[in-house]
């Protein structure tokens, strides 16, 4: 591993650890994590799916909110590497299209549309339980180097910890409580994207970016802000009209 890459890796983990300390938003954290995957690893897109404890996998975060990418993740409730990984609790690797087409025909067809050649799925595990999986998509054929895979698994482990939070560790029932809270936060964010998208005539990706930018520049948790948008306790026009001048009011935002 080059020293430059080590530096990037170290910074990424420091950044993630920082967000874990206090008052972090789990969905925001998971999004950041998928972005880190794309920055650090030889992959072009990353997404995280969690079990909803009702037999389905739900998309929680992705390196891009592109609706076509979401489609790919949603498909995995029927078939795909993430589903296999979740069920087996073990990493699933598919190095080329021919292999993927054989194992998951529908998934492979959609992945081909998106221009992906390879896919890796790594489990989000807590002791003996698998709560979801991290998906990594590459535009090139071939498996990730072992070093990359170890980094990816470490990032998946960070995701598990961030979902559970520190107080969860000693109480088994907290897993269900935290997981359901995280899943519901994701739903609130989708509802808020709809409100903002309609108010500002934005697509859902743009709506998400406005929401996230506003949360960051105002030091608010993403899910709390999303709830305020849906409940109408914040004027959505703040997020729609204002160009990124928020920095001028908040010098702490970098």
């Amino acid at each position: 591993m080059s020293s430059e890459r080590e530096q990037v890796l170290a910074e990424a983990f420091v950044g993630l650890a920082d967000t874990l300390v206090a008052g972090y938003d789990v969905i925001d954290m998971l999004h950041r994590l998928t972005e880190v995957c794309v920055e650090l690893l030889a992959v072009d897109a990353a997404g995280m799916l969690l079990s909803d404890q009702r037999g389905n996998l739900q998309m929680m975060a992705s390196s891009s909110e592109s609706s076509r990418l979401m489609e790919l993740f949603q498909l995995q409730n029927d078939e795909g590497p993430c589903l296999d990984c979740y069920r087996s609790g073990s990493p699933v690797v598919s190095v080329d299209r021919a292999d993927a087409a054989q194992r998951w025909p529908r998934f492979a067809a959609q992945a081909e549309l998106e221009g992906f050649e390879s896919v890796h799925a790594l489990p989000l595990r807590l002791r003996h339980e698998t709560i979801g999986a991290l998906n990594l998509f590459g535009g090139q054929q071939g498996a990730l180097p072992p070093g990359d895979l170890r980094v990816a698994q470490a990032l998946a482990d960070v995701a598990t910890i961030s979902i559970l939070q520190e107080r969860a560790v000693h109480r088994g029932e907290m897993l269900a409580e935290q997981l359901q809270a995280a899943l519901n936060s994701r739903v609130i964010i989708e509802q808020a994207k709809g409100v903002l998208g309609e108010r500002g005539q934005l697509d859902m990706d743009q709506a998400f970016n406005r929401l996230r930018t506003h949360a960051r520049s105002n030091n608010r948790r993403l899910s709390e802000l999303a709830r305020a948008v849906v409940e109408g306790t914040i004027d959505a026009s703040e997020m729609l009209d204002v160009l990124p001048v928020a920095k001028a009011w908040d010098p702490t935002v970098g």
Partner: protein
Amino acid sequence: MFDLDTFATGLAGAAAQEVDGGAARICELCVSSLPVAGAAVAVMAHVNRREVVYASDDVANELEELQFSLGEGPCVEAFGTGRPVLVADLSLVVDPRWPIFAAAAARTTARAAYALPLQIGAIGIGVLDLYRVRGGLLDATQLTGALMAADAILWSLLRLRAGVGIDDGAADGARWLTEGRRSHTAVHQATGMIMVQAGVDAESSLARLRGFAFVNEKLIDEVAGEVVARRLRFDERAADDGVPTSGGGH
């Protein structure tokens, strides 16, 4: 032995069958199928305004009333935080979240309590409360069943509150449960969009979406997809008689 498939089929039937009795029937199903002694449903406008719409027995009712009068307890916590609250031992754990309730609950026969919020994102309408006389937790499969029961009650109550008649509303709660393995992402996005188009709150918005899907014999996800793609609008005026407009706007 709890069988999830049988339970899910029972839930779909109960949700489809009747408008006002849906919550009661689902509670009865929980008591007969899950290892719990009683079940209750509290509908809440906010933490201090609520109504017990069903309680399967006196203890279930008493637990509701206690929390209502004390303003604390697992149900209050579940509604306020939007997360399930699973208490394995009510008698031993004096939870700092509900010190007075814990003492009062110890005088009932209830030893474990599970409070499951009835919610979809920012739409939160109440809580499903389950209790049992011996301590411990539900196992993973039983918890799945309890979460599905909460979903089914939510749909049953949404239909009731939206004033949707039994003829058009029947089976749509069951549909949500059986529509397959979906994320319903578009449904949540469309809920937000229709809120703005029709000038209604999230709950009414979802009810309109669902009503339209039912009347047109489409899946709610399909209709939601049309809304997100901006091929279907639910405008303010048109929404008065529940008729959305097609191809408007953009």
